[in-house]
Assembly symmetry: C2
Homo-oligomer: 135 residues x 2
């Protein structure tokens, strides 16, 4: 079971209100969140700086990952840790109407034939359009 508490414990991070609430935001809404989204939904409960630092900590611990955005905004989403090997390779879908970015984890990434001399390490795919809620 994945509670905010158990996630922090798994990563051997100290349990603080800010961290718990931020993880709960990610668990609650199943979409990628930007710093500004968190600041807003946590309603100035925590300092802007604390949120930045929490996100950085989570990134370093591979608890969240960055999600590409067409507009250059930095968004984050929880990593799923089910498998032994960790990867961030989902398809992300950004809705052009509501602006939400969802991880489409069920969809496998295609194999891309690269030119000679290029070696793939990881890849990310961002699809833009309208989501199921806005259609």
């Amino acid at each position: 079971m994945n509670t905010a508490l158990s996630i922090l414990k798994q990563h051997k991070l100290r349990v603080t209100d800010c961290r718990l609430e931020i993880i709960n935001e990610f668990l609650g809404k199943q979409v990628a969140l930007a710093h500004s989204d968190l600041e807003e939904s946590l309603n100035s409960q925590f300092d802007r700086v604390t949120i930045y630092r929490t996100l950085k900590t989570f990134l370093d611990e591979d608890l969240i990952h960055k999600v590409l955005d067409d507009r250059g905004a930095t968004k984050y989403a929880l990593c799923t840790h089910e498998a032994a090997e960790h990867n961030h390779e989902h398809v992300h879908f950004k809705c052009e109407k509501c602006g939400e970015t969802t991880c489409l984890e069920s969809i496998a990434l295609p194999k891309i034939p690269l030119p000679k001399g290029f070696k793939k390490h990881e890849m990310s795919l961002l699809v833009q359009g309208t989501c199921n809620k806005c259609n």
Copy 2:
């Protein structure tokens, strides 16, 4: 033939030093460039603000397009206008060693089966790894 001059003429833009040089940067290095890259390579020849505005003009004219970056930096690359219909849907490759982002225009984007209710408009694919120069 694609000279900086002819590109500006095609887009009915006024010919200025700054615009010519920026296009030449893109033509010269075949990689995606960020504002800071241009500022550096043009060596403070033009004001920071002018470069921002030039990039915005070029974006509006579909002369360049934004390229996704894993680190959240905003990068741009020239659009290729060969075909009648314009699209930005290349595969982009970012080298983790040298940091350069190249458009792999020859590689077709795969079709992605989206869940019910999702409708695709456009998509971008970023592959990260090591490029042919760094391998």
